[in-house]
């Protein structure tokens, strides 16, 4: 084995050893973020600010899990690309559905409108 290969294996060993500490630290960080999220919902801030804070915290937790616990940080970039294709398609579907059903014509009927429809059917 060449000197470069030896150095590579040694580096890989150190990485495997240090992963234990990384995992524990990240888990603690995720637990703390979850605690902060729960406290955040009771803070007297405007709804858009609270919404933004919760989304950012959720995204941070999501990214920490996929890049560290799921090893995307150390794996081939193709794994990241493959997963993000699904994620973007899923996110895009969510966005499209929310837009589609948020349109006026797609809104569920109110009680008064439902009554009108019922009376029209009876008549």
């Amino acid at each position: 084995m060449s000197a470069t290969a030896h150095a590579g294996t040694a580096g890989s060993h150190e990485l495997e050893e240090s992963k234990f500490q990384i995992y524990v630290q990240i888990a603690m960080l995720l637990a703390v973020i979850t605690g902060i999220e729960i406290i955040t919902v009771y803070l007297p801030f405007a709804v858009p600010i609270l919404f933004a804070i919760l989304v950012v915290f959720s995204a941070v937790k999501f990214l920490f899990v996929i890049f560290f616990f799921m090893h995307l940080r150390w794996d081939r970039p193709f794994c990241t690309i493959l997963f993000f294709i699904g994620l973007i398609l899923g996110g895009g579907t969510m966005w499209a559905l929310l837009r589609l059903f948020g349109a006026e014509a797609s809104m569920p009927l109110s009680s008064a409108m439902l009554e009108t429809v019922r009376w029209a059917a009876v008549a």
């Binding site: 294996t9 890989s12 060993h13 495997e16 992963k19 234990f20 995992y23 524990v24 990240i26 888990a27 995720l30 637990a31 979850t34 999220e37 729960i38 919902v41 009771y42 709804v47 609270l50 919404f51 919760l54 989304v55 915290f57 959720s58 937790k61 999501f62 899990v65 996929i66 560290f68 616990f69 799921m70 090893h71 150390w74 794996d75 081939r76 193709f78 794994c79 493959l82 997963f83 294709i85 699904g86 994620l87 398609l89 899923g90 996110g91 579907t93 969510m94 559905l97 929310l98 059903f101 948020g102 809104m107 569920p108 009927l109 109110s110 009680s111 439902l114």
Partner: protein, 284 residues
Amino acid sequence: MSSTAAGAIDHHFDPSTSTGIPNKKLLMWAFLASDCMFFGCLISTHLIYRLHPPPGVPSARSVFSIELTSFSTFILLMSSLMMALAVNAIQKGNLKSLRASLLTTIFFGCIFLGCQVYEFNNFVFEKHLTITNSILGTTFFTLTGTHGCHVAVGVFWLMLMYIRTFQPRDSSRDLRWFLCNALHIVAFIATILLGMRLVLGVVRGMEATGVSAATLAHFARGYFAELLGIVVSLGLLRWLAQPRGAVGFNETNAIDVEMMGLYWHFVDIVWIVIFTVVYLLEYI
């Protein structure tokens, strides 16, 4: 891979494939990408009806229990940590640590499932929210129930992987190994189901009558069969876990554990999104 010496395998590169990624891992990432779309649709369906609720839908805030959900979120996060440690252990060839981590992950997964059973039970019988009586119930139970099914499949997979770590080096024509496997699975399922029944029964009883020594003694008598079943199945699990010669499960199987880990972490990230979108947003 030719070398099996501990630490000699590069777990992030497979020279035998054109992409450098092990085929099993690539398959799992492709599956998880497709599952993103599946959960995306379920989450958006729930959100649509929360943003535009039809008349007569109950307030989600009056139904949900943020304390219980926060606890189960914490438990799932810790199970993710244990799963990551399990993968780390087998990549270093440490079978003992792998088994301990897998058992802890199974334990945490069962606590999460128990919390969900308790929550669903509470919603249906106390809050009168069922899957058919309101659109909130329909979208909520479909989304969280599907996630719960994923967790249950994950627990079963973890259980099978734990049992596989005891596989003898040459088990091709070993009937004893097959019988041990079957017994191991039965003992595991019995422990989990009886344990859940016992804990949920005692918690529900304590809620109704309060906590005292007399109440606990009453429950011990009432759940004697379950207690006995748990003791027997735990004893069986302990006996089946005794070392019986060389095992065939080693560092070369790390990819199988890693693949299972990917699935388990995915279940965790889906819950991260559900916890924020379905539960926390109701409170702002």
